[in-house]
Amino acid sequence: MRPDIATQVDQTFWMITGTSIVLLLIITAAMLYFLFKYSKKRHPVPENIEGNTSIEIVWTVIPVIIVLVMFFISWAGFKNMRDVPKDAMVVKVMGQMWKWSFEYDNKKKSDTLYLPVNRDVKFEIGSIDVNHSFYLPQFRVKEDAIPGRTNYYWIRTNEEGNFYAACAEYCGLNHWNMYAQMVVMPEDKFAVWKNYFPPDTTAVAKTDTLKTTAGAKDTLKTVKDSLKVPAVTKDTTAIKKDTIKK
């Protein structure tokens, strides 16, 4: 199986950060040591050293190698990110000021992102007004929602539970409150939800909400609460609510 995107991002991150820490320690240690050893008190007469070509070459070539390694590792991770598995389930993501809505292949729409566990999911991301960015922090990936374009990425849901999506491109007054709940549930439950209940009534609103907070849901709070609830019970409540609606 292919490596998981989130794991790969974390690995790359720590590889680069680790190398950086080592470099930083070397530089800082050398600096402090020199400051101490060659302070005016201990070393009153400076020596006249104007440079050294071979050492310049050394500290040019080694960093070149280091950054090239970093580049290739991150490139490999990136390739994996862009290369969507063939059987991935497609979810259309639409951003607007200031909410997300999701559309499934059977035209079902929803404000909450319900997904089956252990599936590859491809998001096709668009926007109806200004730029947003569809960010799934726990999955380590985001891509902007640009009006007039469709961007994409994919993830693999390998764990049941509650997650969230945030907006990561500044989009005005309620940018900070543009969350969506994300629930990953067992395949069969998901199928029930997707196929047996009518499309959510909260489809994309066409009004331009540039300056009003009125009527905007406090999605931040919703997400906060959802993350507090243990994953499994939350799943069932979500389904139940939908049942009742019907």
Partner: protein, 550 residues
């Protein structure tokens, strides 16, 4: 090195503050074409803007102290980070070192009487003031405070009803000020070097200003036209960026970053130049690797043009271009690395005096390295998609901007304070302030790396509970930083009032500005100096060299 004219000065000449002028009082300043006076005028105005923007920053931190509303509404918060960013970038950090210290010391360091175009220089200052005034004025206009973020991304910047046009126009005017300064400096460096001052005998500060000026001249117009397009778009709906008319919002981002990435090197290169002055002065030895440092400035300026796409990795630009921009981003890190290594190597076998400017310079190396190295995480393709537009980026750029240029701005003020004002500050207090600033800085910004990695998006008025502890630490850090900065400012002001008189060369510096009296006389030199060796030849070393050759 300037023919030992030191003694001859001092007595015979009046410093530039006290020279009689055609005009009286304030007019003597507002109509001056003296590069030193213009430098001082920039310094005083810039301090005001800087403190304003800093206060905004502290207010933002206060808001983030607790979840939910703490002291302001979301709309206010959005305007505050916009204004904070705009003022910091366009009014402080881009003009910063070149306009203040470049103006004051560039002519002196190359042995000239003034810049090539003194009147144009004054015009630059007026444009700066007009731009700053417009930015302030935009706060009082009809629509309310601009709320787009300093990046002015379309379509939002075209749709919002706040005073975008006026703020954008302010940035446009400031751009012209920057262009004219750059143009002036390039010509000055080419035309007014004193006899014997070859390119490779110029102080490294001049090299860095030279590279910076080229970026100013060749990159700034691009943002000029981009900002004009926003205004036209708002006023007439011409539509070149409007997706509903067939425009491409991503092209706006290209044009914006074609300037704004090189601009980050406008910010940092002069700071690097100052570091290359301070270290040899206080290590009492020539800089290690003069030529590599000089050339790496030019390399940064050039390669800096090739990497703007790394700000757009998540915007949906093509995969090919992402790969290319990422590779180039990694390459642009190399010349900075070369500089850092050479600075550290300069310390080797020196005879180091740990004065306040030197302390700031060491702080810079540490902080800037952190900022730069985290830039690598941002330049990497897959990790950037996670941390872009989170507090990780906020931490990165405060480390490089504030920790890089900001800290060195403080260092420069201390380093050149005796020369500019002819007075000494209290050395001990200066060091105390530097240490508090160093601590406060890291407490303020380091938690942002952690938050960013955990997924806290930037430009957020409110946040999930898991981030609270980091926001709390960060806000406390801002208070530590504020106290450090207040001590620093108080110390400098008291030095200005009651400091002891500074000699012409209190640090035993070797560049030309240390050969003239403090403060310098109107025409800098009473006889244009002649130079016959490199900029960092310490007299003691020169003497020893001579003895050896005998």
């Amino acid at each position: 090195m300037a023919n030992g004219t030191i003694a001859a000065h001092g007595t015979a000449e009046v410093d530039f503050y006290h020279v009689k002028s055609k005009h009286k009082g304030l007019l003597a300043w507002l109509l001056t074409t003296d590069h030193k006076r213009i430098g001082i005028m920039y310094l005083s105005c810039m301090t005001v803007f800087f403190l304003t923007a800093m206060t905004f920053g502290v207010l933002m931190r206060l808001e983030m102290l607790t979840p939910g509303m703490t002291i302001m509404t979301a709309q206010t918060y959005n305007s505050l980070f916009t204004l904070h960013g705009v003022i910091m970038i366009f009014l402080f950090i881009i003009p910063g070192i070149p306009a203040v210290f470049g103006n004051f010391f560039l002519p002196i360091q190359i042995g000239a009487m003034d810049v090539q175009f003194p009147r144009l220089n004054l015009l630059s200052w007026y444009l700066y003031i007009i731009g700053g005034g417009l930015a302030i004025f935009s706060l009082f206009g009809g629509g309310g405070w601009v709320d787009t973020g300093w990046t002015f991304y379309v379509p939002y910047s075209v749709r919002t009803t706040t005073n975008v046009s006026l703020s954008v126009f302010a940035a446009f005017v400031l751009g012209f000020s920057s262009i004219l300064t750059g143009l002036n400096f390039i010509t000055t460096i080419h035309r007014l070097r004193c006899p014997g001052m070859t390119f490779f005998r110029m102080p490294l500060f001049i090299w860095s200003i030279y590279a910076t000026s080229w970026i100013q001249v060749l990159a700034t117009p691009v943002i000029g036209i981009t900002l004009v397009l926003i205004i036209l778009e708002r006023a007439f709906g011409i539509g070149v960026f409007d997706p509903t008319l067939g425009g491409d919002p991503i092209l706006y981002q290209h044009l914006f970053w074609i300037y704004s990435h090189p601009a980050v090197y406008i910010m940092i290169l002069p700071a690097m130049g100052v570091v290359s002055e301070i270290i040899p002065t206080f290590a009492r030895k020539p800089i290690f690797g003069y030529v590599p440092i000089a050339i790496s400035s030019l390399a940064i300026a050039l390669v800096g043009y090739l990497v703007w796409g790394h700000h757009m990795f998540s915007s949906g630009i093509s995969d090919t271009s992402r790969v290319i921009f990422s590779l180039l981003t990694f390459i642009v890190a190399l010349p900075s690395g070369i500089k850092v290594f050479n600075w550290v190597a300069t310390l080797y076998k020196g005879s180091i005096v740990m004065s306040a400017p030197m302390l700031y310079a060491m702080l810079f190396i540490f902080i800037f390295s952190i900022g730069g190295l985290t830039g690598l995480v941002l330049g990497a393709l897959n990790t950037d998609l996670h941390v872009t537009d989170t507090y990780y980026v906020v931490a990165h750029f405060h480390y490089v901007m504030f920790g890089g240029m900001g800290i060195i701005f403080f260092a420069s003020v201390h380093y050149w304070f005796p020369k500019m004002f002819g007075k000494m500050y209290n050395e001990k207090m200066a060091k105390v302030a530097a240490i508090i600033i160093g601590v406060g800085f890291n407490v303020l910004y380091f938690p942002m790396f952690i938050m960013g990695y955990m997924g806290m998006p930037r430009r957020y008025y409110d946040y999930l509970p898991e981030f609270q502890i980091y926001h709390l630490i960060s806000t406390v850090g801002s208070w530590i930083l504020v106290s450090g900065i207040l001590i620093m400012i108080a110390n400098l002001l008291s030095g200005l009032r009651n400091g002891s008189k500074a000699s012409s060369n209190p640090w035993e510096g070797t560049t030309l500005e240390w050969t003239v009296p403090s403060p310098p006389p109107l025409l800098n030199f009473d006889k244009i100096p002649t130079v016959d060796h490199g900029p960092y030849e310490h007299p003691e070393i020169a003497r020893r060299k001579e003895e050896e050759s005998k």
